[in-house]
């Protein structure tokens, strides 16, 4: 095993561990922090089926953002959809045999990486152009966008221009998944891509990217509007 392989195997496990533990710790915190009062944003669904439908609309279509700001919605939605397809596509590196559904999705994607990159650049531009978001933006907002753009750019390079032998990539990744280290492909572009992804994984639980898990715990969206019918009881709030 070469030094590079050893380094990256360790790096990958550290990054994955930080990501998993950090993400799940946040989720655990969100899930266990009590919400003493009913604060759904009405008009809210009156049963849990309705809540699921509301969450699907929010998570799947960014409904609130759509009614709020159409331009940011276009950029944000394109970016997220492209990201989702990209992640789903990358799953084929993680399963020994590629599931048929995955192969099907992979077969009809057209230049998703470019859409992803373009949407990120658009969002970056919007941050600078609108004076209100320019005022709000912090360093980490720009850093994350640039980070994702770099990941997209290197990914596009490996796919369309400086081809990487993906069989080797898959062997390497399968080795990681099965705790049986394999040699890392020596392609510089791939190594940059991989490094950036691992760094992103490490930063993930400490960043605003936690909105991916957090949105499911937003009380104004996930609560049922049944305050009059069902008594909402939280241990610290209702003694006895």
């Amino acid at each position: 095993m070469s030094g590079l392989t050893l380094l990256y195997t360790l790096f990958a496990y550290v990054a994955i561990a930080v990501f998993l533990v950090g993400f799940l710790a946040r989720i655990w915190k969100y899930a266990t922090t009590p919400s003493p009062l009913k604060i759904p944003l009405t008009p809210a669904p009156v049963n849990s089926v309705g809540v699921v439908y509301r969450m699907v609309q929010e998570v799947g279509f960014f409904k609130s953002l759509f009614y709020s700001n159409r331009i940011i919605w276009i950029g944000g939605y394109l970016m997220h959809i492209a990201l989702l397809i990209t992640i789903v596509k990358h799953l084929r590196f993680f399963f020994k045999t590629t599931p048929a559904a995955l192969a099907w999705i992979t077969s009809f994607e057209i230049y998703v990486g470019f859409i992803f990159f373009g949407a990120l650049a658009f969002l970056f531009l919007m941050r600078l152009v609108i004076d209100r978001t320019y005022y709000l933006s912090l360093m980490q907002d720009y850093v994350l966008l640039i980070f994702l753009m770099l990941i997209a750019a290197t990914g596009i390079l490996t796919k369309y221009y400086v081809r990487t032998d993906i069989i080797k990539v898959k062997q390497f990744v399968m080795g990681l998944v099965q705790f049986r280290p394999e040699a890392i492909p020596g392609d510089p572009i791939f190594i940059i891509h991989f490094t950036l992804v691992l760094l992103l994984l490490i930063y993930f639980p400490f960043s605003k990217l936690m909105h991916s898990g957090g949105i499911f715990f937003s009380p104004t969206r996930n609560q049922v509007d049944d305050a009059r019918e069902v008594r909402h009881v939280t241990p610290w709030a209702v003694k006895g």
């Binding site: 915190k29 919400s35 009405t42 709020s68 941050r127 209100r132 912090l138 360093m139 009059r228």
Partner: protein, 522 residues
């Protein structure tokens, strides 16, 4: 040399504390925003609203509520400790601290930003004041990168900004509606106010009123005798007007209905007209009802300061009244935040209401109650009594975005409208973006209904005034029906400044009261 420097530093700090703890200087009122016909997204002007702040509560007010009288010595540690406590107690706060991505969706939605143009009045900008402290003391990111990552020391200048800007939020939740994650700035400003209270920096208006409620049972601070006087006066008025002796029973045991209504209804105009309306409804429907001196206040300012303890303590008076008077039903009068507390929180705070009649919603809004009577034909209505009015309806923020009426989502919009249409002939809605769940706050909610914040209130009312002005021009609207005591107080004060007569604002039950035909039932 070193000593000299220390003294100068101490002096500035002293000055800051002094500036923070003194009430704002008297200023000439700022010019009223012009109504241009459209609500536009303004360019930001930094610090444009920094000089607004409410009076600081005096030590005796603070201590009565169990808060420190003045800013405590180690306020910074105390504030961070309180923040830690609240983060552990409220899921909303913990989640909302983490998940804002600063997308900018909310930035042009707050009425205070639209009129003051101060970026710290953008919902995310306001929450940023809180997040800066959160990042500094609670996140790895903030601990490592500090200022670069937007983590700021909780120092006096930041505290001053907290005090100023968290008292320019009416907790109307309009931002939450438009946020892709539902981040509710009301929750954040409640937490901020609770933290400020816990270190001895309270707002005079709200805290004084909470003290009055604890002491006398209502926001206006009327004792029982004054209350009985006011009610007798109302009875006389009604008899003079109509010749029918309509009674407003007080503290009657075993009545069918206990009506809990904001105390402004006993005293202020146009609130009084709504009380007349309630009385006529009960009288004509022949329902045995009562008011209570124990629960003479539906409002609950404990919500504004985010204090669960005070909210529960205030609400417990209702429970006490129910136990004393043993009514079968509980009805809440026209008040926005009171209805939110009643609808969404009472069941948790003072429930369960096992002793009430389970056939009816517990509690029930007076609009639900009246509309139900009208639909069942229990009231005789003469719509033409309101023919002089072209009516529009202002959805109160708390009712619209935090509660429901009836069984279906959106009943809080439809039921008052149906009620208005049942008692008037001419009804017009305001612009799409300013009604129903998209409604703008009146500008005076959330504890801002105080004279020293008049400039904030005038500016905050701008979007609503704009929409109202437009329908007045196009449809000749001359009556805006309200179901909130704060809205009524705010609009009657603010509208003259925009050149709209104060008589345009009035309660929904004011219209109902005018339209009811009193007398023997057929």
């Amino acid at each position: 040399m070193a000593e000299e420097i220390t003294t100068t530093e101490e002096k500035t700090v002293d000055k800051d504390i002094a500036a923070l703890l003194t009430s704002p200087p008297k200023r000439a009122p700022e010019p009223t925003p012009e109504l241009t016909g459209k609500i536009v997204k303004p360019k930001i002007v930094q610090g444009a609203a920094a000089h607004y702040k409410p009076h600081v509560a005096k030590p005796e007010i603070q201590e009565k509520l169990g808060f420190p009288g003045t800013l405590v010595e180690n306020w910074q540690e105390a504030a961070v400790a309180k923040m830690r406590e609240l983060l552990g107690k409220y899921k909303s706060l913990q989640v909302y601290m983490d998940i804002c991505v600063r997308c900018g969706s909310c930035t042009d939605k707050c009425q205070y930003f639209l009129s003051t143009r101060d970026p710290k009045n953008m919902p995310a900008g306001r929450a940023e004041l809180f997040r800066q402290v959160y990042r500094k003391y609670f996140t790895t990111e903030g601990k490592i990168f500090g200022k670069l990552a937007g983590a700021v020391d909780f120092d006096l200048s930041l505290l001053a900004e907290w005090y100023s800007y968290f008292h320019q939020c009416s907790q109307c939740r309009r931002c939450s509606l438009y946020c892709p994650y539902g981040i509710d700035t009301a929750e954040i400003s409640m937490a901020a106010r609770e933290i400020m209270d816990s270190i001895g920096l309270g707002q005079k208006y709200t805290n004084e009123i909470i003290g009055k409620v604890h002491e006398l049972g209502n926001n206006l601070g009327m004792n029982e005798a004054a209350l009985r006087n006011a009610i007798e006066f109302v009875e006389e008025e009604i008899e003079e007007d109509t010749g029918v002796p309509v009674k407003l029973p007080i503290n009657e045991e075993d009545a069918e209905v206990l009506l809990v209504t904001p105390s402004a209804d006993f005293f202020a105009t146009p609130h009084l007209e709504s009380l007349v309306g309630y009385a006529k409804v009960f009288h004509q429907a022949g329902i045995n009802w009562t008011l209570s001196t124990t629960a003479a206040e539906a409002g609950n300012f404990g919500m504004f300061v985010g204090s669960y303890y005070h909210m529960q303590k205030i609400a417990s008076r209702i429970k006490q009244a129910i136990e004393e008077l043993r009514p079968k039903r509980l009805v809440v009068g026209e008040c926005g935040h009171a209805w939110r507390v009643a609808y969404a929180f009472w069941n948790t705070l003072i429930g369960p209401f096992d002793m009430l009649n389970q056939k009816y919603p517990r509690p029930q809004h007076i609009c639900e109650f009246t509309l139900d009577l009208i639909n069942r034909g229990a009231l005789k209505i003469d719509k033409s009594a309101n023919d002089e009015f072209v009516v529009t309806f202002h959805d109160s923020c708390n009712v619209a975005r935090a509660t429901r009426m009836g069984d279906k989502p959106g009943g809080q919009f439809d039921i008052p409208r149906e009620l208005i249409k049942a008692v008037t002939n001419k009804y017009v809605d305001m612009e799409y973006d300013t009604i129903r769940e998209r409604t703008f706050c009146c500008g005076g909610g959330g504890g801002l209904l105080t004279d020293e914040l008049i400039d904030v209130r005038v500016k905050g009312a701008m979007p609503r005034m704009q929409a109202l002005h437009n329908v007045m021009e196009t449809h000749g609207v001359n009556f805006m029906a309200l179901i909130c005591a704060i809205c009524k107080a705010q609009f009657t004060k603010i509208m003259p400044k925009y050149g709209i007569p104060m008589e345009v604002a009035g309660g929904v039950h004011q219209l109902v009261g005018r339209a009811i035909v009193l007398g023997a039932k057929e």
